[in-house]
């Protein structure tokens, strides 16, 4: 029953991301993405290969159903899928997976969860903004867009992590 709730919420968040992309573009300087949180919220024992494949599929779905460029979100999200495991080990420690524990915001605390999401969001937006700008914007514009996007997306992702409990 709990799994059904998790899957439904997960799909709902994907739909929310698509809607955000289609109907709520804040500004050209700010991007909001729940996708790093959706990657982090996968079960702890998910291997890197599976998380990368899921990241690709998620990115493809979001790009396909929104007005985005097909492949852009996948390009940015696959690296986040690759480093998901190392980020979890680095932030939460090795014992988490050996205990068979779950990634719970309530149990692990907001600071650690925020740090993990900052890392994943940073990598995601770094690749996303770099590929999106295609060498047409100057560095400080890209840097500003990156900083604002991380600043806005991380709290949203923390909220998503609070909802999603695998």
């Amino acid at each position: 029953m709990k799994n059904y709730r998790y899957i439904l919420l997960y799909l709902l968040m994907v739909i929310v991301q698509i809607l955000l992309g289609n109907f709520f573009p804040l500004s050209r300087w700010v991007l909001i993405s729940l996708l790093p949180a959706l990657l982090l919220a996968l079960p702890l024992d998910t291997r890197a290969i599976l998380s990368m494949l899921l990241a690709f599929a998620l990115g493809f779905a979001v790009d396909f159903f929104s007005n985005g460029m097909l492949g852009l979100t996948s390009l940015a999200l696959v690296p986040a899928g690759l480093v998901r495991g190392p980020v979890i080990r680095m932030v939460f420690g090795d014992e988490l997976s050996s205990r068979g524990d779950k990634l719970s915001l309530q149990r692990l605390g907001a600071p650690k969860m925020t740090l993990a999401l900052i890392l994943l969001c940073s990598l995601f937006f770094l690749v996303y903004i770099w590929a999106d700008s295609a060498g047409t914007v100057v560095f400080w514009q890209g840097a500003l867009r990156f900083a604002l996007s991380v600043l806005v997306s991380v709290p949203v992702c923390v909220f998503v992590m609070r909802l999603l409990r695998p």
């Binding site: 890197a48 290969i49 990368m52 494949l53 990241a55 690709f56 990115g59 493809f60 790009d63 460029m69 097909l70 492949g71 852009l72 996948s74 390009l75 696959v78 690296p79 690759l82 590929a131 295609a134 060498g135 047409t136």
Partner: protein, 272 residues
């Protein structure tokens, strides 16, 4: 086994990551003109870098053949240069011979050192001139800078001499132009030192006096510089010896002059 499994898992992960990124880039390339131009530019840069690197590597390995040709040419030029250097030195040696104003009663033959020993107590020297060039045994081997030794045996084209660095060779020497005459021989202590023996105890010899051949010999021309005195010492409380630093640098000796006294046999017969 576990390590190998980990390695293959890592390898598979890396391959899948690369494939997924390539797929994403391909999608992006098709979906936007701007990104298409950007990706093409990046791929052209990468390809240009790769081609440049490959060309560099190919050129590097292709250079081996060129290097061999150049090395061959280099060797030929080196041989040619050596030939001219030798010619120049021979001309210089002959010019020195002319300007040395050596005593005219001696016959002089320029020669080149073919082989020389300096590491034993009985050192030898082999010269590239023999009997067909007029070289005779008991001739002096000198340079304008000093005495080198004495011809011991003569072949048709080569001659064998005893170097001054041979304890069997003794040269009649004079300290200064008008000074004391004494036999000079090698003491075996170094290739640049010799000693003057049989110096009377009551005579003192200063440092820095030039030692020359005395001329009281049928073998060595007079006044050929040999070396310079560096001090004297008493041996066994009975004999005084004078240390002499030789002028000739045996380590770099290449060209010499053979001095042959045509009257040597007459003088020796008279001595008998």
């Amino acid at each position: 086994m576990a390590r190998a499994g980990k390695f293959y898992l890592g390898l598979t992960t890396a391959v899948i990551f690369i494939l997924l990124e390539i797929a994403a880039i391909s999608l992006l390339d098709r979906s936007s003109t701007l990104q298409n131009i950007w990706i093409n530019r990046i791929s052209h840069n990468v390809m240009a870098f790769n081609w440049g690197s490959m060309t560099k590597v190919r050129n590097y390995f292709g250079l081996k053949e060129q290097n061999e040709i150049l090395a061959g040419k280099n060797f030929e030029l080196f041989k040619e240069l050596q030939h001219y250097k030798e010619l120049e030195k021979a001309v210089q040696a002959m010019a020195k011979l002319d300007s040395a104003k050596l005593p005219s009663r001696f016959n002089y033959i320029p020669a080149e050192v073919t082989a020389m020993g300096t590491n034993s107590r009985h050192n030898y020297i082999i010269l590239d001139k023999g009997s067909e060039h007029g070289v005779k045994p008991q001739s002096a081997i000198i340079t304008p800078n000093g005495v080198v030794g004495m011809i011991y045996a003569v072949d048709k084209r080569y001659s064998y001499g005893l170097s001054l660095l041979n304890d069997k060779v003794s040269v009649s020497a004079r300290i200064g132009r008008e000074g004391l005459v004494a036999p000079l021989s090698w003491d075996g202590r170094g290739s640049d030192h010799a000693i003057l023996k049989d110096i009377p105890l009551h005579l003192t010899v200063g440092q820095g006096d030039t030692v020359r051949t005395s001329g009281i010999s049928a073998v060595y021309p007079p006044d050929i510089p040999i070396g310079v005195t560096t001090g004297s010492r008493l041996i066994d409380g009975a004999v005084n010896v004078v240390d002499v630093k030789l002028f000739v640098d045996f380590a770099s000796l290449r060209y010499v002059i053979i001095a042959e006294n045509p009257d040597r046999q007459i003088i020796e017969q008279m001595e008998e």
